[in-house]
Every structure is written in structure tokens, then in C-alpha cells.
Subunit: 274 residues, 2 copies
């Protein structure tokens, strides 16, 4: 899985994720998008709205020096528990300052929402202003859906880009789209391209298929995975083969070679493309 | 969130979770169940099928000494990448041995599946036998749905119970049910009980609600959270108040006091129970 150096870490913040009230669909969305862009997502961490845990995870993750990108979601809103910006300032040991660009973005968004009749006033209250206090030395990401700007921090020592996005899925997705060109550039610089294929076999019993997967795994530099259902369902087993390469064609060619050899091993026409 | 010492850590293993192919519904299910039982889930980690990352996370998590329970899902099946048992043996620095109880469970399950016509043979092949190799000194958990037994390891030094369950949701859930009495006992020993309530307010703008939530937060030892949608949706904001106590009544009483005061603050009838 790890032939690329374009490693990414996803951190989801929110007590509601740890109490099971909310399914972490953000992590799934970002894992999928980042993989398609060419990153290896090495780890996903979900943590509560706790300064100690936040600081410890960020410090450790930066100092490991293996991540090119750290994507953080959650904790950017106007309520008391939305503390990502202040936690980050403390973690980086810099002051939280009223960021003029962030304040302009917040002001602009409330003006727009007021004009659309979605809020009762455009006044910048202290709860609203709070969203414009960012760690010194960081940059903002425009939020086209909600009101809280995102945060960009570049750690030059570890060559890591850290991005903070809101936890509300619509806002997170709209802001991630803005980041894609930059992320694609980072991944391209690492010469990392991803390709995958998936198909059904005629097998329903994973223990019978297992030795064939091992042969493929040992012969090719691909990741091959069978996705079993439970035995009760008697469903044909689904296979995913994926790889990375320095070009898209290199990744694709490896994956197809592995797939063709598996097809041969399990005697021909037993693969059904999805 | 953290008045209890019944802290839990969830670790999900599987490359398919990190590439976004699969949504981590297991973590959500377990987070919810563990919270209801009285645990504080302090962290959820998702990692790939990698020995180095597995060992590093398990060693670190045990040595932190703050978790009463570590629940691991994934990597127990018959295929080449199902390596949780062998990774755990290496991490604990003990040999992988053919566990006679595990072998009996695997043998029994394939016999049952054969009798039900769900597998073609009950023969214990090497792929099947692989699931019965467990770290020395660990115990098994019966798998009533699939074939891979679970693993129980007790770390007496850190007072941590570590449970490994399969990643297939049906199997994981059936095996988690078996563990519930033991988990309830652990949580009860820590005198940790959880209660939550949720309701809608008449607010659609989180920045207006924010100061009231802060007042509640500062006055009561509860966790209060507003769950915003995006502004476009104009949906009433949903609130969750939860707390822990040494008895269920203590937790419940705190939560209701906080809810009643919030209702008063935002002038009476503006709360709608869900």
C-alpha cells in the first residue's frame, strides 16, 4: 500500500462521533477522494473536543514526519465546543489573532445569508467574530456554504500541509473542492498515481479463495482484497485489486496483470466485472 | 466528557476503510453501544493492514494506561491480509500457537456450515486452520455467524482488556453481544453510567444559540452540543445534552436540570422533544 510518499492523515473531531450519535461519513468521503488523488491515507483518527488529546495527536503526527498532508474536520463553528482554531494555536505555540481575511470572509458570508433571508441580522456578534480568530501565521480557506473559514498551516520543518475544515458535511465537501488543485499538485510532485479495479468471482467461500489471493499478492506489487459477506448470504465474493505507480499507466498495468493472472488461476471465465 | 475512568479505545483495521471503499459502520456501532454501556470512547483509530502501524498503535495505547478496554475489529479471516492474530503475537512478544479451543471452534463452525450446505467441504485446510493460530496466553470468543474466533487478551500491568473481533459487521455484532455482560461489569466497577437527551429548538442560526449553550456548559457538568445543518436547509437546530454519573439517576438528573435551564433561557416553549 505504501510505495508512495504522498501519505495523508485524517483527523475527525467531535464528541458526537465518539458517542456513536453521528456516523463519520466525512472520513469516508475524504479517504476516498484523497486515495483517488493519489494519496495513501495511512491513518484516520477520531478524537473528542479535548485540547489535551488534540494537541497530543497533532504534535505526535507532525513529529513523525511521514505525512505530506493532515486533514482535520470539525470544531470550526460558533459554539463553545468549536475549539479547533484555539487548540491549534496552543499546539503550535502561537497566539490566536483576529485574522483580517477571516473576519472579512465571516462578515461577507453573514451579509450574504442575511440578504438571502437565512439569518435575522448580519451583525458580527462575538460568537460570529470568534470564527475569525486563527493561529498566527496561518491562512484561511473560503467557506462558500457556511460561515466558518477553514485554516491552512504549513509546517516547513516536516514538509507537512495541515488543513482544517468544518465538520458539517456540505461545508466540508464544498471547501475540499477548493483544495483539490493544490492537493493534486502535492501528490503529482510525489509521482504518486492510484488505480483500482473490482469484480466478482464465482466463489462464496473466502477460505477457498484465500490461497489464490496469496499467490497474486506474492507475485505482484498490488493490494488484493476479498470482501466477504457472512456465510448466510451466499453472495459471490467481491475482489478489489489496487496499486500505485509513478504514472497512471504504470498503476493500471500492474492491476490488470494481477487481475488477468487471478482469472487464469481460478480457471478462466469466473470473473465478472462490476 | 471524561468524569469516568471507564475509557475505551476502538481500533478498526482494514485498507478498504482508508481508501474509502467501505464506510466504517463498525466504529459507529461500537461507539454507540460502548457509550450506552457507560464507557467513554476517547479515541477511534483506523489503520491499514500493516504490522508496523498495528504494533506501534497497540504498544502506545497500552502504555498510555488510560484505557480499560481496547476493541479491535478486522483482520481475523482466512486471507493473506487477515493478520491481526499474528500482528498481536509479535506486538506482545509471544509466539503464535495453534489454540486448541480456537481450532475446535473453527472445526465446529465449518461442520455446521457444511451441514447447512453453505460450504462445499468441512475439511480444515491451511487457510481455515490459520484462524486458529492465536497469540500464546490469549483466549477465544465464539463466532456464531462466521468462522474466525475472536481473541481476548488481558494486560494486567495496565489493567486493560483487549478484544479482537472480525470486521464483517454481522459477525462483529453477534460477537459483541457475547461480550456485553463482561463489558457491563467492567463499566459498573468504574461506577460509570451514561444518560442523554435530545430535542429541537426553534433556532436555525447556531451563532445566536451559541451564548446560551456556553452558559449551560459553564453551569452544569454536562456535554451540550448543537448539531447544525447548513444554512441553506433552514432546519431547526438539534441539541444533545449528555452526562455521566455514579448512578443512572445522577446522570439523568444532571441532564434534565441542564435541559430545563436551557428551556428557561431561551424563553420557555421553544424546545420540542424528539
Amino acid at each position: 500500500m505504501n510505495i508512495s510518499t504522498a501519505n495523508a492523515l485524517l483527523i475527525s473531531i467531535g464528541n458526537e462521533l465518539l458517542s456513536g450519535q453521528t456516523v463519520n461519513t466525512n472520513a469516508n468521503y475524504l479517504a476516498n477522494e484523497m486515495t483517488q488523488i493519489g494519496f495513501s491515507v495511512l491513518k484516520i483518527i477520531t478524537i473528542p473536543d479535548s485540547k489535551e488529546i488534540f494537541s497530543s495527536e497533532i504534535k505526535k503526527s507532525l513529529s513523525e514526519g511521514i505525512y505530506r498532508v493532515i486533514l482535520i474536520t470539525g470544531g470550526l463553528g460558533p459554539t463553545w465546543d468549536d475549539s479547533t482554531a484555539s487548540f491549534l494555536a496552543e499546539t503550535l505555540n502561537v497566539p490566536s489573532i483576529l485574522n483580517s481575511e477571516a473576519l472579512a470572509l465571516v462578515t461577507q458570508r453573514y451579509k450574504e445569508l442575511y440578504e438571502q433571508g437565512l439569518v435575522e441580522s448580519a451583525k458580527i456578534t462575538s460568537a460570529r467574530k470568534k470564527m475569525a480568530y486563527l493561529p498566527e501565521g496561518t491562512n484561511t480557506i473560503y467557506n462558500p456554504v457556511g460561515t466558518a473559514p477553514g485554516i491552512i498551516y504549513k509546517d516547513s520543518i516536516h514538509n507537512t500541509m495541515l488543513y482544517c475544515l468544518p465538520g458539517v458535511p456540505k461545508e466540508m465537501k464544498a471547501m475540499f473542492l477548493i483544495l483539490i488543485p493544490e492537493l493534486k499538485m502535492i501528490s503529482a510532485l510525489e509521482e504518486s498515481f492510484y488505480f483500482e479495479t473490482e469484480f466478482f468471482t464465482s466463489f462464496t467461500d473466502e477460505s477457498i479463495l484465500a490461497p489464490f489471493l496469496l499467490i497474486i499478492r506474492e507475485k505482484y506489487d498490488v493490494w488484493i482484497k476479498s470482501l466477504p459477506k457472512s456465510y448466510q448470504e451466499e453472495e459471490n465474493i467481491h475482489i478489489i485489486i489496487s496499486s500505485k505507480g509513478k504514472t497512471q499507466n504504470e498503476a493500471k498495468s500492474l492491476v490488470f496483470k494481477a487481475r488477468d493472472y487471478l482469472s487464469e488461476l481460478i480457471s478462466g471465465g469466473e470473473i465478472e466485472e462490476i
